[in-house]
């Protein structure tokens, strides 16, 4: 994050920087939120709904979200479908190929926790959050395309808390629920 990091540090350290920083953050978070290009990591059933979300009836493009198959160009990886142990390294690698800032949406219960494939199976990873930092979990098996769109709209709320200065969080816009933010220390 060459340019951004330098800019963020400068603004954070400089006098009066915080005001500028805040406005820059606000503008940037707004743009990032409105231009979430998706890396469709569709592996199973949810991939169908992922496709449907981009097509005529649901039209993801309205939100500025378009699918790109090249991880380098994308901002958010939508993991849609079951992740097996054989697939997991691929996903991890693809995630690493994405450029910062990047987010992950776990779409559907297979990606969230293994879902129906939680028990009694030998080859399924129980949730993509075992290998990637997931920002938004969408329940459904598969979720409706609207659920995914809702997930993306919620992801904007997370993006709105972020700052280009390292270690900063924008306040006020939105807070995570207490229990989840504190977590149980796992």
């Amino acid at each position: 994050m060459a340019i951004v990091d330098r800019l963020g540090e400068k603004l954070d350290g400089g006098r009066g920087g915080s005001v500028i920083l805040t406005s820059v953050d606000a503008l940037l978070d707004y743009c990032r939120g409105k231009s979430l290009w998706a890396m469709p990591m569709g592996t199973a059933c949810c991939a169908m709904e992922l496709i449907a979300a981009s097509f005529s009836k649901f039209d993801f493009d309205r939100h500025g979200t378009i699918p790109f198959f090249d991880p380098r160009h994308t901002d958010v990886m939508i993991v849609a479908g079951t992740i097996t142990h054989k697939m997991a390294p691929v996903i991890k690698r693809l995630y690493e190929q994405m450029a910062d800032p990047k987010w992950v949406i776990a779409m559907g219960n297979c990606a969230v926790s293994g879902g129906i494939f939680y028990y009694d199976t030998y080859s399924v990873v129980r949730g993509v959050d075992e290998i990637l930092p997931v920002d938004v979990h969408i329940a459904g098996c598969p979720p409706r395309p609207e659920s995914l769109q809702d997930g993306v709209l919620r992801l904007r709320e997370i993006i709105a808390t972020e700052s280009i200065a390292p270690g900063h969080k924008r306040k006020g816009a939105f807070t995570l629920p207490r229990d989840a933010a504190e977590g149980d220390g796992e």
Binding site: M41, G42, T43, A44, C45, A47, M48, E49, I51, A52, F55, S56, K57, F69, D70, P71, G81, T82, T84, K86, M87, P89, V90, I91, R93, L94, Q97, I116, F117, Y119, D120, T121, Y122, S123, V124, C141, P142, R144
Partner: protein, 381 residues
Amino acid sequence: MGLDVESRRVVEVEEGGTVEELVVNVGPSHPSTHGVCRVIAHLDSEIVTKAEPVIGHLHRGIEKMAENRTYLQVVPLTDRLDYVGSMYANWAYCRAVERLASIRVPDRAEYLRVIVCEMQRIASHMMAIGSAGADSGAVTQFVYAFDQRERIIEHFEELCGARLTYNYVRPGGVSHDLPEGWIESLLAFCESHRKGLDMMDKLFFGNVIARGRMKGVGVLSAEEAVAWGASGPVARGSGVEWDLRKHDPYSVYPRLDFEVPIGSNGDCYDRGRVRLLECYESCSIIEQAIAQLEPGAIMADGVPRLLAPLPGDAYDHIESARGSLGVYLVSDGSPRPYRMKVRSPAFCNLALLPMLAEGHLLSDLVVILGSLDPVFGEVDR
């Protein structure tokens, strides 16, 4: 993008000396693999010398899970096998269970099954035709096809409350009866769908560029199709007249009148267009089935929550959108299947890929893969 593969490989050629062979790794997450298939393509310039599919990236162990679920609990699992055509796996599985447990399905339920499965065939073929377009760059064709599919899915949602994983066909019958007004809107859809098919036929299958991409590509002869166990549109595209609905009739298909479209060249074009023509036939099957539909029970009487068939094994197969989908069930008398095996048509069809792709260009590889229409939930299971 994908995994590390030694991307250049030194091979010896006949004339002596060596050339560097480019190894391109297509998948597992790749726009054209229709899922998570990885094809390791060895290229000589752009010509594929060897294409090796690596599957199993979606191997979820459903067959093992089925051994740990009751007969009813397996139905949702079968939804996730062929996620483009969930109704088929539902039905094939339920047929096997019914055969094991000697359950007689009411007539109305059989008709409803036929109706939903023909709708599913349209939906699935729309996906196949559409993604054939996307593979060759015609994204708009994909959108139009998907639009048609979306309308079927709306009907399914009305019927059973889910868009993809229907869990509709159950051992003994079906889970819901038709909602009000559903039949009328389905008939209206059939009418408009024919127009949509005409449009797609002109837009894609009539297009000179699309023909150029598909004609003569990935030719499969009838003998090979039989020997390799190909079924469904892949076999029929090669001129093999093999449709279980006609040639091993099940359910109420013998009472319905329909044609089996076949191709004569066995290339990607024939495989694709066979699917398109089957959609016309499906429309007419739906209309006939609706005309013959009579009120009655939709579930066999008194199917308890826990089925425990007598020990034994049973196999039953139906013609899914991808070919003959069979389910082999072994019971040991307990409420859970002892073994479930899904004979996946997509798996058998995909095995043809190395043979078909050899000698073609890399661009053809994705078209051939698309014309086999694999769904990896079913291939890998």
